[in-house]
Amino acid sequence: MRRRSVVLAAGLALLLAVPPLAAIAGEPFAVTLASRVLIYALAAASLDFIVGYGGMVSFGHAAFLGLGAYTVGIVASHAFDGTAVPLLPFAWHGTDSALIQWPLAMLISALFALVIGALSLRTAGVYFIMITLAFAQMLYHLFLTLPTYGGQDGLNLWRRSEIPGLDLADDVSFYYLTLALLIISLLILKRLVHSRFGMVLRAGKQNEPRLQALGIPTVRYKLLAFVIAGAFGGLAGALTVNHTEFVGPGLLHWTRSGELLVIVILGGLGSLYGSVVGAAVLLILEEVIAGWTEHWMIVLGPFLVLVVLFARRGLYGWLAGREAEGD
């Protein structure tokens, strides 16, 4: 217990110290990279919620990231050029307010998760993996070919979302807001994991037929978890589009879903906090190796195979000790 608390406290202190340290070192880019780590950590944690605790191996989580990002991008683009958002029963010209944009992003992602989940959860196991991948690819294809919102060129976000009292155009403010949202999201997900709902979810991962035989309609629980994961994925998407001030179909590409799964495994399956470690390691490694060679994938590929074959516990389990497992 103590070792885990120390690791968590040290991690939090480190994350809080990133902007001042970057300023001292004269490396403002570090804040941008760290923001990216936090956003990916959030997306991966929402994926870990269903993979690590619910046993649902989704290979399409980038879809929710992309939907969240496109929601913000589309709403903001209408606010920018003063046109009405199509397909609505009333005239609405979009908004720049994060207080509307971001919850909307979560809602849209959750709705799509509801539909995709309801279809995919008619099956399980390897079918589930392939179906979630296929649906995500369908959305990728849709955004790629839909000319209205940039098609393959994507959409630029002309200004970051607005929150009263905060200047999100300032990278340091944006970083701290992202950190706060990540912490809140992790705490919420953690709470869910240990609630009655989470108990059913975790039991279903271990032995779903037995759970049904006890009288629990497992699919409803799994579907709700899938929707919750989709919503937090959407929030990560809303943050991403603000971070890069751009959204393109590449955000929904299936390799992105693969990366998120890699982060989950690197951090440790079923350890929400591990997602932060996993994201940090993967993205920083990418940054470092990309400095040596443009062919960083030739390193990452075999590295992944080795991680799967030999390091199943994940980095968080290794850092925080055995009692952190199932955290």
């Binding site: 609630s195 009655r196 059913v200 037995r210 035989a213 006890l214 009288g215 629990i216 309609p217």
Partner: protein, 249 residues
């Protein structure tokens, strides 16, 4: 008329050309222990799986408390009060014994869509779960991981789980499988007092257990009922002796 809790009528299930259940008909009286016996491959486990809904029958009807349930999903039947234990231990290995039973307690409540309160600090849930652990003699093993319990203890845990769902009819699929003499005796002591308040449908190979528990015995061979009656009449039945117990038995 008699008061049957379960009526199985003309149940049929084929795997390819092999009949696992062939016009299977029998009924379980309320408060009784009814044993299904038969040689390996007689279709006992398939019959159980059809009654719980894990296997879909090709034809026939299953009535529970007078209601046709053969098209209900598994969880609905369990909620109606029909529950089972498994021949091969089926538990949640990463949960503690207490959490495992707590899960079963949850299962009989309308839903578990509660998101905020920590289930580990939910005293009502834990107290209820603990009482079932006590009933099967696992009270002092509450915090052990279910996967780390001894085989016999896992079988007891199975029974605690089934009881915690508040069943009316319990299907016991070889509850003594893989147990030693002493463990079997212990399990008999747990099961015997259940009769009366619950109805039991028992599949078991150990004839001593069958004759110690059952009020009625039905003998299956190749998915068909070849005899049914009190234990003593079954013991005396010539067909049964030939088909199953072996002439020398």
């Amino acid at each position: 008329m008699t008061d049957a809790i379960l009526e199985v009528q003309g149940l049929s299930k084929f795997f390819g050309a092999v009949a696992a259940s062939d016009s299977l008909t029998f009924q379980v009286e309320r408060g009784c222990c009814h044993a299904l016996i038969g040689p390996n491959g007689a279709g006992k486990s398939t019959a159980i799986a059809q009654i719980t809904g894990e296997v879909r029958p090709d034809g026939g009807s299953i009535r529970f408390n007078g209601r046709e349930i053969s098209r209900w999903p598994v969880h609905r039947r369990a909620r109606a009060g029909l529950n089972r234990s498994y021949q091969i231990t089926s538990i949640f290995p990463a949960f503690s014994a207490l959490d495992t039973v707590a899960l079963a307690v949850l299962a009989r409540q309308p839903h578990a869509f509660r998101f905020w309160r920590d289930a580990r600090r939910d005293e009502r849930l834990r107290r209820s779960a603990r009482s079932f652990l006590d009933r099967v003699g696992l009270g002092d093993r509450a915090d052990v991981r279910a996967g780390d319990l001894a085989h016999g203890e896992q079988r007891q845990l199975e029974v605690a789980m089934v009881l915690a769902t508040n069943p009316q009819l319990v299907l016991l699929d070889e509850p003594m499988a893989g147990m030693g003499r002493a463990e079997t005796q212990q399990m008999l002591d747990i099961l015997r007092p259940l009769k009366g308040s619950l109805s039991l449908l028992l599949v078991e190979h150990d004839m001593d257990v069958v004759f110690a528990l059952a009020d009625v015995v039905t003998v299956l061979v190749k998915g068909r009922v070849i005899a049914s009656g009190t234990p003593s009449s079954i013991r005396a039945d010539a067909d049964v002796r030939r088909a199953y117990l072996g002439d020398g038995a």
